[in-house]
Symmetry: C2
Subunit: 396 residues, 2 copies
């Protein structure tokens, strides 16, 4: 199989976009093309463009966004498609970029994920996100993602002894990491005491879906992220040495959460990670830095276990020991994660890859993991029904 790498990365400041969806995608793309040393225009060399978005249709009433982006960037006659896999759309688009190059049909692919989702707020945002649930068996009954996450957390607490304080530690850690990431949406660090210990904590940090509080849930953010993929045999064309995509694994689980045999297991995460490790020829202990889909704090803990970084049921102990912060044994969500960097759905999977590339290149500034060689990203679709794990490796 032809080897594939990442030659350039770009990222808008997550938060509230002042520009249209297509223009926001273009801003991230232009930064990634520039980072790779590609100029747009007649001899751009980009064969394929993938756009990842979950809400372009539902929220922004736009189709053919990938074609519009090609036009905006003057990348004709590049092929172009929009890809959707709920909140894992970004990693899915990176996977398709990988396949496009590995198949030999393309040499260079631009993958851009983005979401202009602050056009809705409050219950409308929650309802939009819930469109990823099973239309007949879940959505029709009013189920939402926070409701699922709350029930999942309660079961996890009962079974493994996770506490609300453990979850707050994840939140504070990720907010601290985000302070070193200029593109993160939220640039403030909540005091652990104020959000969980103080007598006013229930006011500052009320329950959203008990036992999950406001600080356990990611914000609603606009944003876009982009990567330029290339065949590794063409590495010389680009400004920087490409970071190699060493492994990609993906798996689906029952879409209907109620049908899962063990509701605290995330089998799609487990299988996706196993497949990615097998393809990369690596083990969990080889991973130096990880971006895990912390749309809810409990998910960072559960995913870290299913991905093999810690034994099942012990992820929260690693949080307590400080192993998952920058400087710890295996730093998780150095970017600030979905929790503090923000979670523009279609952007997230690409944003995770951008962070890993910056870490492996040594460009992560105050949040740099020293000597990082292998990075893992886990992007989580639905409530774990379609998960993509990606492993990047630094080429020596």
């Amino acid at each position: 199989m032809r080897k594939v790498g990442i030659a350039g990365v770009g990222h808008t400041k997550f938060g509230r976009s002042e520009v249209s969806l297509v223009d926001m995608l273009a801003l991230a793309a232009l930064e990634a093309l520039d980072d790779a040393g590609i100029r747009t225009g007649r001899r751009h060399g980009v064969d394929q463009v993938f756009v990842a978005s979950m809400g372009a249709g539902i929220l922004n009433r736009q189709s053919s966004v990938a074609s519009a982006l090609v036009d905006t960037l003057n990348l004709q006659p590049a092929m172009a498609e929009t890809v959707e896999n709920g909140p894992a759309s970004g990693a899915s688009a990176v996977k398709l970029g990988y396949m496009a190059i590995a198949s030999g049909m393309c040499d260079v692919a631009l993958v851009v994920g983005g979401e202009l989702m602050r056009v809705v707020t409050g219950w409308e945002a929650t309802d939009f996100v819930a469109t990823m649930l099973h239309p007949d068996a879940e959505y029709a009954y009013g189920l939402t993602l926070p409701a699922f996450a709350g029930m999942f957390t309660r079961l996890y607490m009962d079974k493994y002894g996770v506490t609300e304080k453990d979850l707050a530690m994840v939140a504070v850690k990720n907010h601290e990491h985000a302070m070193h990431n200029p593109v993160a949406h939220i640039q403030l660090v909540p005091s652990f005491h104020a959000i969980i210990e103080d007598e006013d904590a229930p006011v500052i940090n009320p329950y959203v879906a008990e036992p999950l509080r406001v600080y356990d849930v990611c914000p609603v953010s606009d944003g876009a992220a982009a990567v330029v993929l290339c065949a590794m045999d063409l590495a010389d064309r680009f400004r920087k040495k490409p970071v190699r995509i060493a492994g990609i694994g993906q798996a689906t689980d029952t879409h209907v959460v109620a049908e899962r045999e063990v509701p605290t297991d995330l089998l799609a995460v487990r299988l996706a990670a196993q497949r990615a490790y097998a393809m990369a020829g690596l083990k969990p202990e080889d991973i130096d830095v990880a971006e895990l889909h912390d749309a809810f704090t409990i998910l960072e803990i559960a995913i870290s276990e299913e991905a093999g970084l810690f034994p099942k049921g012990e992820g929260h102990l690693a949080v307590r020991r400080g192993e998952t912060r920058v400087g710890g044994r295996i730093p998780i969500n150095t970017s600030g994660g979905l929790k503090a960097k923000g979670h523009p759905l279609g952007a997230t999977g690409v944003s995770q890859i951008v962070e890993l590339v910056r870490q492996l290149r040594g460009e992560a500034g105050g949040r740099q993991v020293e000597g990082a060689r292998h990075g893992l990203a886990v992007n989580f679709g639905g409530f774990g029904n379609n998960v993509v794990a990606t492993i990047l490796s630094k080429e020596e």
Copy 2:
């Protein structure tokens, strides 16, 4: 590059669906899996599912449809994504299935296209379709697809001498073909005299966007189509001998139609077809049967020229000579085309491939093209801004 073929095909009756979007997709998929001899269940062997839909979000307010389909079909842990490229979503999904297998990451991929679009009618349907136009430069000014097609037709008539009667001949031909296709939406043949020559013709067949009349425009249809792709080296696993995907070409043009240098040229069709011929090692004269994107009758003529089947400006002369009907030199739209079979947007590109497979297998009944060995499909996104050409070849 690993060779890829089509081992099974499935197709719902286009028209009005009595079932939900996901169930409609499942019906087409089950027929294709059965045709290939694949049973769902633990050892199904399907590695990847692609769903093509343009309107799942805008019309049906659903995301993660591909994951829901995996669940409905019990195809876990197959990977799954939804793909959107306007009305060319179907061919794009087939292309991605090709890449998935050619890359070596998959052996078997299920590609299902579908649209549940009769939830809107009249101007709301036209407005939905218009979401594929450039959001800022076209859609915002009230432009629609029929308006573009009308202007394009007028220019074509002025330049090449195409007449309204030529267009009516295309319509009547495709309706005649559809009479032999049990899954076609419209099962009636309009009389050429009644729709264009009779004094009552303007009543029966009024202008939609002058000079295009009702019978020049495809209907609004629900429907789904599915294909099972496989690595050709695994051909023995399947019930029928796979038909090979010999070539795929895709190209984008300016999204904004007003920016095209020669407005009667469809450069993306020309380039996509050239790329497909080059990959297949074939020439236009090798093609025995073609499915061309006749959302408007003029497009069948224009695409037939840009795809090299006739010299530019002479496609309508071939129609007059009867060369494009079954029994003619190069039969076009034997399925009835978008015009009479129907055009459920995301389904169309897959439906074209289904028809070609049936032709190359000799399963096309009353519309069979005798001895067909090579088939061409052209699926047209936007107003020609993102076009996919696919060539299938019968393995001897």
